[in-house]
């Protein structure tokens, strides 16, 4: 446990070291956030509400998804894949925790910095440009925190799982890029899922992707209420369990194929 705590602390510090990169990243996120907000305003064209999403909520949606890019590593990560190719995985396997927990710990520290630093700062900056709605009641904030943690767990498990493809192929970058594209699109990062056609959202609601972004944003906006809210949270938990289970199984199969060439 102490090891894990040290690991989280280290990755937290490591991430915090790049402060200029943090600000530069913020400015870029902000520019693209404004572009996407502008497009939505033009699309709404004066309509107050489209499929249960008001323009203000849609603008907050854009802000929140931009704020979550770094927290959820929405553009993907190939770090784990690279350790398999460089052989660095050899030393990681000697660590006194399971491989999954080891990467979970590293990702937790990194994510935490990006949620507290980059995410919150982004929302402050973004709110200078566009109105951002805020959850009013304390329970809403509590449920939101829960949903955000679950979103991170689902997102992490997905990234971990597909990075394992590196056990089977000498160049998994193409596979990873496709997988990250799918998760960006189906999670609601590119467009709010409610604005996509009903047949489309009906199709992707049976995938883990909405649990990565869309659920947490809708919890924040308060568009998920009552029973549907709890179902959505349960679904997040179930998808985490399914993906983590799958990842464990794939890891067991993959690790037997691992050959590390000398040192």
């Amino acid at each position: 446990m102490n090891f894990l705590w040290q690991l989280v602390k280290l990755s937290f510090k490591q991430q915090l070291a790049y402060r200029v990169a943090l600000w530069a990243g913020l400015v870029t996120n902000l520019f693209f956030g404004v572009l996407r907000a502008v497009l939505l305003i033009a699309l709404y064209n004066g309509q107050a509400e489209v499929n249960g999403l008001t323009l203000n909520s849609a603008l907050s949606y854009v802000g929140l998804t931009q704020a979550m890019i770094a927290y959820l590593t929405l553009f993907g990560s190939m770090d784990l894949m690279n350790t398999i190719y460089t052989g660095a995985i050899g030393t990681d396997l000697l660590k006194p925790v399971s491989f999954f927990v080891y990467w979970l710990g590293r990702d937790f520290g990194r994510s935490l910095v990006n949620l507290l630093g980059r995410g919150v700062l982004f929302m402050l900056l973004y709110s200078l440009f566009y109105p951002v709605t805020m959850p009013a009641r304390l329970e809403q904030w509590l449920v939101l925190s829960l949903s955000l943690i679950l979103a991170w767990l689902v997102s992490f498990s997905w990234r971990y799982l597909i990075n394992l493809a590196a056990f089977w192929t000498p160049d998994a970058r193409g596979i990873l890029r496709i997988a990250f594209t799918v998760s960006q699109f189906f999670s609601g990062f590119i467009m709010p899922l409610r604005l996509l056609p009903d047949w489309f959202t009906a199709m992707i609601q049976y995938t883990p992707f909405p649990s990565m972004v869309n659920t947490s944003v809708e919890v924040y906006l308060g568009t998920l209420q009552g029973e549907r809210l709890w179902t959505a949270l349960w679904l997040q938990l179930v998808w985490f369990a399914v993906l983590a289970g799958l990842a464990h199984w794939v890891y067991q199969a993959g690790i037997r194929r691992l050959v590390i060439q000398g040192g």
């Binding site: 502008v38 699309l43 594209t181 590119i190 467009m191």
Partner: protein
């Protein structure tokens, strides 16, 4: 001159042959590059089921903007790979640029010949598909003038983006690390030019008219091709300023690049 050209072709040839060594891996990269960028347009197509138009532009008309800019950005991204600030800055950090400076050949030629990302073809094809969709959904009334002007606009866009890459790389002579703000102009510019200029707030429109003349590169030419009226009320010549805007940007880029090379100090690695 023809010797240099021959050399350039050879350098590029080496790049292409080495990238084609791993066929399956290359095909995957091609496919993923196309898909990755195509998703954004796909999302737009889907969202048009609910909204029908944006600022008076139909899906086909927006696809014209999107397809054209996608093709030219991707072509630039392939041709000017060596000047991609991300890869150029590693040349500075690792000292590869110092080696290049020692050779009796133009430095720009060596940089251009040092990299040719063939997988960008995936994105060019994706742009071509979108452009095909555009021509299908809202056919252009072709005239001789339009047929001659289309390749001119395409080349202008390639050169304008290339100018931004060169300027972004030149900045790294001083900063060593790539400057993130440059991405706003390159990748952001590509995104910005995907939609009709009238959707943007006035301050953004002004910036991309007078500071960085993006508005003349895609939006105004598209008005001419699609026979749409100019709602911003600039000069009637505005659709034909694309080559001028590109030439101006490239001239500034080349002058800045020369200044940068003259003042270059090695990082010592």
């Amino acid at each position: 001159m023809s010797r240099l050209w021959g050399l350039y072709i050879r350098l590029i040839g080496i790049q292409i042959r080495s990238q084609l060594q791993y066929r399956v891996s290359f095909l995957m990269e091609l496919l993923s590059t196309g898909l990755l960028n195509g998703t954004y347009f796909l999302a737009l197509v889907l969202i048009f089921e609910r909204f029908k138009s944006v600022a008076g532009w139909t899906l086909g008309e927006v696809a014209f903007l999107a397809g054209l800019i996608e093709m030219s950005f991707a072509s630039m991204d392939m041709i000017f790979s060596g000047f991609d600030p991300d890869s150029f800055s590693t040349k500075i950090r690792s000292g590869t640029l110092d080696q290049m400076l020692l050779r009796p050949l133009p430095i720009a030629l060596q940089v251009l010949g040092s990299r040719w990302e063939l997988r960008r073809m995936g994105r060019i094809l994706e742009g071509l598909v979108i452009f095909g969709v555009a021509l299908n959904l809202s056919p252009v009334n072709w005239t001789v003038g339009k047929m001659i002007y289309l390749p001119v606009v395409f080349l202008s866009q390639v050169l304008a983006f290339g100018a931004l890459f060169i300027m972004g790389s030149t900045l790294t002579f001083w900063t060593v690390q790539p400057v993130e703000a440059v991405n706003i102009l390159t990748y952001g510019g590509n995104e910005l030019m995907t939609y009709p200029a009238t959707i943007y707030p006035i301050w953004l429109q002004r910036f991309f008219t007078y500071a960085v003349p993006f508005i003349f590169l895609n939006y105004y030419p598209a008005l001419y091709f699609l026979d749409k009226p100019d709602l911003l009320g600039l000069t009637p010549l505005a659709p034909f300023l694309a080559p001028l805007a590109a030439a101006a940007m490239m001239t500034i880029a080349v002058l800045f690049w020369r200044f940068g090379v003259d003042h270059y100090q090695s990082t010592g690695s």
